[in-house]
Symmetry: C2
Subunit: 278 residues, 2 copies
Amino acid sequence: MSQATIGDSEFDRDTAVTAREPGVYDAELSAGWTIIQAVNGGYLLAVLGRALADTLPHPDPISVSAYYLTASVPGPAVVRTETVRTGSTLSTGQASLYQYAEDGTEVERIRVLATYGDLDGLPDDVRTSAKPPAIPPPEHCLGTADGPAPLPGSSAIIERLDIRLDPATVGWAVGAPSGKGEMRGWFGLADGRDPDPLSLLLTVDALPPTSFELGLMGWTPTVELTTHIRCRPAPGPLRVAITTRNLAGGLLEEDAEVWDSADRLVAQSRQLAKAPRG
Amino acid sequence: MSQATIGDSEFDRDTAVTAREPGVYDAELSAGWTIIQAVNGGYLLAVLGRALADTLPHPDPISVSAYYLTASVPGPAVVRTETVRTGSTLSTGQASLYQYAEDGTEVERIRVLATYGDLDGLPDDVRTSAKPPAIPPPEHCLGTADGPAPLPGSSAIIERLDIRLDPATVGWAVGAPSGKGEMRGWFGLADGRDPDPLSLLLTVDALPPTSFELGLMGWTPTVELTTHIRCRPAPGPLRVAITTRNLAGGLLEEDAEVWDSADRLVAQSRQLAKAPRG
């Protein structure tokens, strides 16, 4: 199989949107990005991101805030977008993804507000005190083939991702969670497609939840997820580090950082999620 | 002057909204929460938060994501809200704050998506590795009376806040910024009103910008600000710590944590802002 490229890959085909009329897009949610019973939230975000990139005058997501309302399922969907404000360097839009109830009525799955810009047109200055996460080289990390028992239900997304987890954050897989709210690993698409700003929307929500390492197995549905794309990623593997500092009131935050092969911080995200009952 | 209380204070009067019709609220943006030429973004957020608390079936903001579109000015405003989804424990809404152009047309200032819940109805479990920031006691911090030259334009908000900054983060005030993207201090309302979830929306955006300590004086307009209210705050002073790790492409993030007098992490926020040109 030849290496997939940006624009010609399964991720690109499965996030494609078709304009039905100005600002309204048909999409087909693929079963290929599901885990257990859920369609991955980052994949859904990329579908919404594609629609907004078409609607707004600027090409790249800079900030995307998503509120997850109801659970998506594979199949047809429609994305309705609105241009909220257009400026010279940034523009802001809104988008909602809907699916259909049995009687044909639309059910809203996710609503997002987002600001887009042109990542190639930003000033060059960088002042950073952020350091890439210390993750062992990929050959010392744990991939899917090293995994434990098969998942109940779909594991389709796992076949499409090349994730290699830091051994320090996979105690959960052998029944010995570290007790720390940390998850780290290498991230790539399995077909070799390089990262771009759109695929970063998938990347920030693709690792196992930090709650696994807190000893809480189970589902952590996202309430809200905001992603800031800080730089166009260089080709090659990404490193992702996710941290949870505070679980309280049945909710936890997951702070994700994504670093590219050029050691640049390319995305930051935070989500508020419901904690598993434990 | 007797101590102001929650519900009977200048903050409460200045964030009041009056229902014009279901979901539509009139407000009067007070000049009392301006600095230089701008109406404080946290104060605006509290006005929107009041309207959403009235619209939605749940009382407390849990997650609020705001996109700042155009600059607000003191004077009349209208807030239009929409109930997006209601659930048993959480509900989600949208709100926009508008002001009026000279010809009377509405100009949108801010749009927010938010999830509300009942902070008193959440589970009690807390697992946290977060530690309160190390800030010297208030008497060793620097208040307004210790400040340097007067600001150009309005400093009205400064009179309404009791902020005492950690001396380690006020080098900027004497022309010697630390070079670190850190700002820390004690926060209270000057009239003694205790904090509540709504006033936390003000608190997360009330300290001087971290960019001052990076040696970049000037305006840092917010692009996006998401706040998670994690716990109802106990009475008494709050501690706020803001950190910027990455300034790149003319944008910087400000991560804020707010701690209450009972040493609980009561709010986390992140904003993406435009960096001053320096």
